[in-house]
Amino acid sequence: MRNLANVLLLAAMAGATVVSYLVPPAKGFQEPDLARIIFFHLPCAFAATAFLFYGAFAAIRSLSGDRLLWDARAEAAHAMAAAMAIATMLSGILFSRVQWGAWWQNDPRQTSFLLVLLILGAYFAIRSAFQDPERRARNSAAYAVGSLLPNLFLIFVFPRLPQVSTFHPMVIGKQGGFDPIYWRTILLVFACLMATAVWAYRQRVRAILLEERLEQLDAELDSRQRHAADRVVRAVRLPEPDESPGG
């Protein structure tokens, strides 16, 4: 049953990719054919945002109780958010090159997403700094919750400030100028991508919990062996009085 679901997921993702190539090229772009990057760029950005906020929710749960399970979920969610944010950055840089003529445009949305990626990097820096799982969970959860405000500001507020001018088209809200067929394709790719990402997230949570269990078992085994070694009585030959160095 699980294998069938995985095969269906793979088929859906392949189907969505094919559909994205069947949609007519977008008018109004420098390279209309390559505007299809949007079909993957936008869903990756949406998925990154969703995992980022789910990660913060898991961190809040981790601080309030059932620490290790929710910490594993928070770590996996942040890992998925980082993967999706990197995919967004890479596809955005490619889009910027082919449509606007430069790899990096100093665009506020590009810059703010890079800052989100740096905050994610700091989260993993905190995780790697602590060996003790309890302290690692506590400190990284506090950072994830604390960075919720900067992340909200960077994703939703900063690119929309009137003082900053952006190359990015405003695709959500009144100014959203996409053709309905483009929106349908974006939503189809987003649904397939989210299903794949949720599958990967669940695998990651299982892997983290198994790693922790393995570490616990290792520690228990180590402790047992140490106790066993303490109890072993080894025969030691005592020197005879005339064999001793002084005698």
């Binding site: 905050i119 506590r138 506090a142 919750v145 604390g146 960075s147 405000l149 900067p150 500001f153 400030l161």
Partner: protein, 216 residues
């Protein structure tokens, strides 16, 4: 809280380590900016960016020390026994705010003298610096607490503080560039109010997160 603030004040007046570190770093950074801009006048936007970057780095260099020093000197456990985490956070964050505001005043005066910039909106400059320094202090205190018990605490506190504080710096630049005469005043005041909200949010949410990590 007041006892914690007083303790930090007394410790600082004895050693002057924080003020010296922040002051020396800030003066060196401003002199470096002056060398880089020698012979031409800095535009308002660039000057605001340079001023805030200098403030950011002087904050991340000097401010987390109030918590890192507790762990290095082994006085953290005593403080945990004697004071509530909220009081410790507010005491240390208030002390950091005072230190940061003093640093910002000295740094801005030096910056203005060396770069010969005109201030169009002095009130906006003063309020945005005050709100920004308060927000930076609360954020840096929290990041210092997160890194305090790590083996590589000094490097980690800088590494985690910078991305955390950059959105505040963006708001600060928005306000200060208007104070230096670039952009619409409404945008500058918007940035200033944003900074004040950020400071309030960090000061009110910070103690709860601090309480979660401030234990053995």
């Amino acid at each position: 809280m007041w006892a914690c603030l007083r303790k930090e004040w007394l410790a600082e007046t004895r050693s002057r380590a924080g003020v010296l570190a922040a002051g020396l770093f800030s003066v060196s950074a401003v002199v470096a900016v002056w060398f880089a801009s020698f012979g031409f006048r800095l535009p308002g936007g660039l000057a605001a960016g340079l001023l805030w970057v200098t403030l950011l780095f002087s904050a991340v260099v000097a401010l987390p020390r109030v918590l890192l020093a507790e762990e290095e000197n082994g006085t953290g456990d005593l403080l945990r026994q004697w004071a509530r985490p909220h009081a410790v956070f507010w005491g240390k964050a208030l002390f950091n705010s005072l230190q940061m505001i003093l640093t910002a005043v000295a740094l801005t005066v030096l910056f203005l003298v060396l770069t010969d910039l005109q201030i169009r909106h002095p009130l906006l400059l003063a309020l945005s610096l005050a709100a920004g320094c308060t927000a930076l202090s609360a954020g840096t205190t929290l990041c210092g607490a997160l890194a305090a018990q790590a083996p590589n605490r000094a490097a980690l506190s800088v590494a985690v503080s910078v991305p955390f504080l950059l959105p505040m710096v963006a708001l600060g630049i928005t306000a200060v560039r208007v104070a230096f005469g670039q952009g619409e005043p409404s945008g500058g005041w918007q940035g200033c109010v944003g900074l004040a909200c950020y400071a309030v949010a960090t000061f009110s949410g910070g103690p709860h997160l601090f309480a979660a990590v401030w234990r053995r």
